[in-house]
């Protein structure tokens, strides 16, 4: 079995927004490769119906009536936030926008 390259692991980790130490990268090079190898078994499956099933149970898509319900209090919104500022939840400055 081939190991994944360091770059491959780094790319995947970045997609998932997970920082990895060099040591962890080495570990995941092996274990991720094992998983991908197993998953690639599905390439052997041919001749299936291409229509997809999103979830096993297709309900009669009952839609919600357009009514306002109970909303959270300010206290509830902020209750579990590690960093808050007045009525707001705080994050490091967003540069992109």
């Amino acid at each position: 079995m081939e190991k994944l390259s360091v770059e491959e692991v780094k790319h995947i980790a970045h997609l998932a927004r997970i920082f990895l130490t060099d040591e962890e990268i080495e570990k995941y090079r092996v274990s991720l490769a094992k998983l991908f190898e197993m998953i690639d078994e599905i390439h052997q499956i041919k001749g299936y119906d291409e229509e997809i099933m999103i979830c096993p149970w297709q309900s009669d898509s009952s839609l919600r009536e357009d009514k306002v319900g109970k909303m959270l209090t300010e206290e509830e919104v902020l209750k579990n936030a590690p960093c808050k500022n007045g009525r707001f939840i705080e994050v490091p400055v967003m540069l992109n926008e």
Binding site: I18, I39, D49, M53, P92, L95
Partner: protein
């Protein structure tokens, strides 16, 4: 010392009605047993104060349904308002939900007593409960052994007779497999039978909450409480209300039962085959018809499941970023670091691995060749099961390939946790109901279970066969309970 907890729920109910027992007394016994069995590491968070308050409140109330005043343990991925819900992860170590899951609301309305939140694999990812941030729970039958997972704490709690009832969740066998390892009845209901609102999602299209109990009747009674359409969950099904205990006790002599060939192939160990064959003989003796059947794609079920489960998980767990709730790194100098460090420090190894695999499977052009393909084949697989149910009343199979094994065995192998679930996974893929029934023991006197699978929304039929076999097998399942 009183031993009310050794009574059946029906007996406890009768004592309540006759005013010979109060919920408070029963609850005190629960907390004594929790204390006595601390080494099992079942609980992550106890709800002692609130449960006591609730028990006292019930004393001023009329005795309600069968499960009124019965203690229950909840898997720690079911959110409970004002009661810590960790998913056995550092990420949610201090998370206090601001709302109740729909099942929790139903349980409270029915007057059950929530004793606490029980251990599990981190975010339900694993099959031994060893990925828990709070260390693995132990198998009450032998504490050197795994409980199975991911609902390992729920299993240990009921198997040790601490609570008569527990809720687990089953994404790829996480109720049935630990039930099999600990000698319990565990039901994964039809996908859509029970609301997922408030179940911290692992894989949305596979997850289902279900009851884990000491016997079949109590299992059906608990499903009665938690089942039903929920306006808050679009994937919950509209079904007429039914009593899942209604067929229990009715004899079975003319059933047509199918056994998928792959599930009795060499993937299963001899110890399991022996138990399973004994059940088959028993059914035949009673006049039922048992035949081998073929279901498509069972051999590839694990990789197909891995794709769907990990892809959905990678997206479902993206929300854990240290902003609105949960763990946040101290090194959040900028947005990228906030994400990468928080998630690196907050998640355990297995969870990270699955999120990474899932992210990769959805990236660029891969979504089509992996996720879409898996969804398509999943549809075919479901159809193959449904075709089978047009000819057979129920399907029967072993639940696990072996009995429980020793703690620490599987940690180094990333594939082991999936291979443990090879027999239970296809049922989640097809969205079917399936129940683990204890059916025998191995040489070390560890329990071995079988699973009974039905067409969608035919849980009552499963309970009928299960209760019939339960009576016939008449096993002593008290092995997890230390009787002093």
């Amino acid at each position: 010392m009183s031993k009310y907890l050794d009574l059946s729920v029906l007996e406890i109910h009768r004592l309540y009605q006759e005013k010979k027992l109060t919920p408070k007394v029963l609850l005190e016994e629960v907390f004594e047993r929790i204390e006595k069995r601390k080494s099992l590491n079942c609980f992550i968070t106890l709800n002692k104060e609130e449960a006591m308050k609730e028990a006292l409140r019930l004393e001023n109330e009329e005795v309600g349904g069968i499960l009124w005043g019965i203690p229950i343990a909840l898997k720690d991925n079911i959110v409970t308002k004002d009661l810590r819900t960790t998913c056995a992860s550092k990420m949610l170590e201090n998370f206090i939900p601001i709302y109740d899951a729909t099942v929790v609301q139903k349980i409270k309305d029915e007057g059950l007593l929530i004793v606490g939140k029980v251990n599990m694999d981190e975010f339900a990812m694993g099959s031994t409960s060893e990925t828990s941030y709070f260390k693995a729970p132990k198998n009450p039958w032998n504490e050197e052994y795994i409980t199975g997972g991911s609902s390992g704490g729920s299993a240990a709690c009921v198997a040790a007779r601490i609570t008569p009832l527990a809720l687990g969740s089953d994404t790829g066998g996480s109720i049935r497999q630990p039930a099999s390892y600990t000698g319990l009845v565990g039901m994964k209901p039809t996908y859509g039978r029970v609301s997922r609102y408030g179940l911290v999602a692992f894989a949305s299209s596979l997850d289902q909450i279900g009851p884990m109990t000491r016997n079949v009747f109590e299992n059906a009674a608990l499903l009665n409480v938690i089942a039903g359409r929920d306006e808050k969950d679009l994937t919950s099904a509209v079904q007429e209300k039914e009593d899942f205990t209604r067929l229990i006790g009715k004899d079975i002599h003319t059933l047509k039962i199918g056994i998928p060939s792959y599930w009795i192939s060499d993937v299963v160990t001899q110890e399991v085959k022996e138990v399973f064959n004994h059940v088959i003989e028993l059914l035949k003796e009673e006049g039922n018809q048992v035949e081998i059947v073929d279901i498509s794609y069972l051999e590839q079920a694990v990789p197909l499941y891995q794709i769907i489960a990990m892809a959905e998980a990678s997206s479902n767990l993206a929300r854990f970023d240290g902003i609105r709730y949960g763990y946040r790194t101290l090194e959040a100098e900028n947005v990228d670091m906030l994400y990468e460090k928080t998630r690196s420090e907050g998640f355990g190894e297995e969870v990270k691995r699955r999120i990474m695999v899932g992210s990769s499977l959805l990236s660029s052009e891969k979504a089509k060749i992996y996720y879409d393909k898996a969804l398509s084949i999943r549809k075919d697989m479901r159809k193959s099961f449904l075709d089978c149910f047009s000819q057979y009343d129920l399907l029967l199979a072993p639940t696990t390939t072996s009995a429980a094994y020793k703690l620490g065995t599987s940690l180094s192998d990333p594939l082991k946790s999936f291979m443990d679930d090879v027999l239970v996974i296809p049922v989640n893929m097809a969205g079917l109901p399936s129940l683990n029934l204890p059916a025998g023991f191995n040489q070390d006197h560890l329990p071995i279970g079988i699973q009974i699978i039905a067409a969608p929304f035919e849980e009552a039929k499963i309970y009928q066969l299960a209760s019939f076999l339960e009576k016939k097998l008449n096993l002593d399942l008290e092995g997890g309970h230390i009787d002093e």
